[in-house]
């Protein structure tokens, strides 16, 4: 009973914190759009903001709630003292949330595998330039009307799929820069990120997810382009491949080349300015290290009182 009660209390705390943080994020994320940073940094920030509720809830539950219950909850309970209706109901909610997340991930992944296996029938590695590393993880497949012209698939072993009609339609420079765009998605693990987003469902997050998706596209455009000629080639490839986009929607765990607002992307590429790109500040990963270190220091310094406080909060929740 003690263990069950501990699990119920932990799940209750987790689900309440997750919902509270998710509601805050759903309201507050719009302020990030006004930041003057590179698209790559903006995409990273938006993704971090989206997964923050789940990550923070898991960390706080395991770092504070579980130890506080184990250390501070008296084990010699009266037999009559049950689990409590509120922790039981919220515990079921938390389990449903986790099950829903797992189901969404499983269905997205299985559908993607099924569709990609169909696209890959008769596929072979692309041999445009044997020396170029760009094409190392790229395979062509016979053109089918239901398959996108250029897309990134896979999480553990990501590959860029390019249809034969795409190879025929694009010039060598256009194909090179379009493949660099998809490889930029591969480097930033955007397919894995999409799967992670499926795991943390919450209403009202569609706007944030769509903003992340658009920022990730623009970040991949920026990564593929190093001068104005490349930008024009990428814009030309985008316009050409937009005419080949299939009616059937692509499965979730793929990143297609023709996504987001095409006209906005083309206009942005045609007004490419390297000095503007260099001027926009980029947020590096190590910028967060001092804040995390300070936070960890605070946690270590105040861990005892924090556990007592957490225990009081959980007691109040259970009552």
């Amino acid at each position: 009973m003690f263990a069950l009660r501990g699990i119920a209390v932990s799940l209750t705390f987790f689900v309440l914190l997750y919902c509270l943080l998710s509601a805050l994020v759903a309201v507050a994320w719009r302020s990030l759009r006004w930041l003057r940073v590179t698209e790559q940094s903006l995409a990273a920030l938006l993704f971090a903001f989206r997964v923050l509720p789940l990550a923070a809830s898991v960390v706080i539950t395991f770092a504070f709630v579980v130890p506080s219950f184990q250390l501070l909850e008296p084990r010699s309970m009266n037999i009559d003292e049950g689990m409590g209706a509120v922790p039981f109901a919220l515990g079921v909610c938390a389990l449903s949330l986790i099950a829903c997340g797992c189901f969404r991930v499983f269905t997205a992944q299985s559908r993607t595998c099924r569709v990609v296996a169909r696209w890959l029938e008769g596929a072979r590695p692309l041999k445009v330039d044997a020396a170029a590393q760009t094409y190392a993880q790229t395979v062509t497949f016979p053109s089918r009307c239901e398959a996108p012209p250029l897309t990134l698939v896979g999480i553990r072993r990501p590959r860029v799929l390019v249809s034969e009609s795409t190879v025929a339609l694009l010039s060598q420079d256009e194909l090179r820069v379009a493949l660099k765009h998809e490889l930029a998605h591969m480097r930033s693990r955007d397919n894995l990120k999409k799967l992670v987003l499926r795991f943390c469902p919450f209403p009202g997050m569609a706007g944030l997810e769509s903003a992340w998706s658009q920022a990730a596209e623009l970040a991949a455009d920026d990564a593929a382009v190093s001068r104005l000629d490349d930008a024009v080639d990428l814009a030309a490839a985008l316009v050409k491949l937009s005419r080949l986009v299939p009616v059937e929607a692509a499965p979730l765990c793929t990143v297609g080349f023709v996504t987001g607002s095409i006209s906005a992307r083309v206009e942005r590429l045609l007004s490419w300015d390297e000095t503007d790109k260099a001027r926009a500040p980029r947020i590096r990963t190590w910028y967060v290290v001092p804040s995390v270190a300070a936070l960890l220091l605070c946690v270590f310094a105040t861990y005892g009182p924090a556990l007592s406080l957490t225990h009081e909060v959980t007691e109040w929740l259970v009552r």
């Binding site: 104005l228 000629d229 024009v232 814009a235 030309a236 316009v239 937009s242 005419r243 095409i262 006209s263 083309v266 206009e267 045609l270």
Partner: protein, 150 residues
């Protein structure tokens, strides 16, 4: 979306002068009849403007509060809201216009495809223009280099 706006979108159309008055009010925020006429862009009689604004108020598109012996009118909805509801209502009417419900939808898809194709043609022209511009610039650059070498 408010009920009044939906009723407006489904039952009535705006005349050109009503649209002009609404545009003026969206740009000014709020105005009396005299303030609308003050900048001389509306060439209509005071009573015509007053009747039009009263009609827009009765259609639920304007709010009004008494100010002395006149009224101050404010648009009840933003331009975007009105466009959205009008478009939604038009699509709803289109879809409900025939027993074979798939037919109007196919017209919509056809219209969208045509629009998309036109947009792509325009983007293609922009790309080609930029390419020509770049080639021209490169050509001039190489001419200058050749002259320098001579």
């Amino acid at each position: 979306m408010t009920k009044a706006l939906s009723i407006f979108a489904s039952r009535s159309q705006l005349g050109p002068f009503e649209q002009q008055v609404l545009q003026k009010l969206w740009s000014q925020g709020s105005a009396t009849v005299r303030e609308l006429l003050a900048d001389g862009q509306i060439h209509q009689a005071y009573t015509t403007v007053m009747t039009t604004m009263d009609r827009l108020y009765k259609k639920g598109l304007l709010d009004r509060v008494g100010e002395g012996r006149a009224f101050r009118y404010t648009p009840r909805h933003s331009h975007e809201e009105l466009q959205r509801v009008t478009a939604l209502e038009s699509i709803r009417q289109l879809l409900g216009s025939d027993d074979a419900s798939s037919l109007p939808l196919s017209y919509l898809v056809e219209a969208l495809s045509t629009h998309d194709a036109q947009l792509l043609d325009e983007l293609q022209l922009l790309v080609e223009r930029k390419r020509r511009e770049l080639k021209g610039r490169d050509g001039k650059g190489s001419d200058r280099k050749e002259r320098g070498q001579r």
